[in-house]
């Protein structure tokens, strides 16, 4: 069920990230715990800042990872699968600041065996918003998913993937990502309805 647009959340003025060691957090750490595991390969530590605490809140910078991106793809011979295969390199280059985790065929199958209602919806690109997870954990909005498997044509899948990549680049610093998703991707509300009627992309993807 889609969530109401009036969820009471105070706006954040900055995207916050918390740093921790890459190998120390226990496997059963709750989502609310402040330490976030950041892989060394993709994190650039701030330089020249005396007294910076490892767990201090930092202002978001364009190079700070804001998202964790997970790709679940069992390998259905579908337009979504083909589009993702053909364009993954480009997606990866466009989202260089954010780590991308690919589950692979076996892990994806295991994942969908536990979530049967999503069989056939893959490839699924799940995006975890690290700033939201730092704020409220997983009890509230904490990211979104693109379900490429629901798209029936190559053009629809490509448009959705392009929309998705553009959205991630445009809103990396957003303090109201959920609102942006509802307006920009899901075209909710009256303005969204007008865009569906007049615009090309939303009409094509939702067709």
């Amino acid at each position: 069920m889609p969530r109401g647009s009036g969820s009471p959340r105070r706006p954040r003025t900055e995207a916050r990230t918390r740093r921790g060691t890459a190998k120390s957090p226990p496997a059963e750490a709750p989502a609310e715990q402040e330490t976030v595991v950041l892989q060394e390969a993709v994190v650039t530590e701030p330089s020249g800042r005396p007294g910076t605490c490892a767990r201090a809140e930092t202002e978001a910078s364009p190079s700070t990872p804001r998202f964790r991106i997970f790709i679940v793809d069992t390998g259905w011979d579908s337009p979504g699968h083909k589009v993702l295969q053909e364009n993954f390199g480009l997606i990866r280059e466009l989202q260089r600041e954010d780590p991308i985790y690919v589950l692979g065929r076996e892990k994806s199958i295991e994942y969908l065996r536990h979530h049967e209602e999503r069989i056939g919806h893959d490839p699924i690109i799940a995006v975890h918003d690290l700033a939201a997870m730092d704020d409220t954990g997983t009890a509230d909005f904490h990211g979104f998913r693109l379900r490429l498997g629901l798209l029936r044509t190559h053009q629809q899948a490509l448009l959705a993937l392009q929309n998705f990549a553009r959205f991630l680049r445009l809103h990396r610093q957003s303090t109201d990502l959920e609102g942006e998703i509802r307006r920009g991707l899901r075209r909710e509300g009256l303005a969204g309805a007008i865009e569906i009627v007049l615009g090309h992309e939303a009409r094509e993807i939702g067709g």
Binding site: R147, I196, G206
Partner: protein, 68 residues
């Protein structure tokens, strides 16, 4: 009388057209909501599982240029 009947017909057809447009917009918005699905409390377990896989090292950032 023809004029009155044509007026009724016009109103009826207009209502049908508006109703169809509302239905189509709603259908497309529902489709977009399915395609771009928001993660919330219902997805907490799924999210936690993926985050655990990252924390435990079972998942590493993908470094390849293409998917295999």
């Amino acid at each position: 009388m023809p004029e009155r009947w044509s007026d009724y017909l016009t109103i009826f057809m207009s209502a049908l057209a508006v109703g169809y447009m509302v239905y189509e917009i709603d259908r497309r918005q529902r489709k977009l909501r399915e395609i771009f699905d928001v993660l919330d409390a219902e997805d907490a377990a799924v999210t936690a599982r993926l985050e655990d896989m990252v924390a435990s090292g079972e998942l590493q950032p993908y470094t390849g240029a293409t998917l295999v």
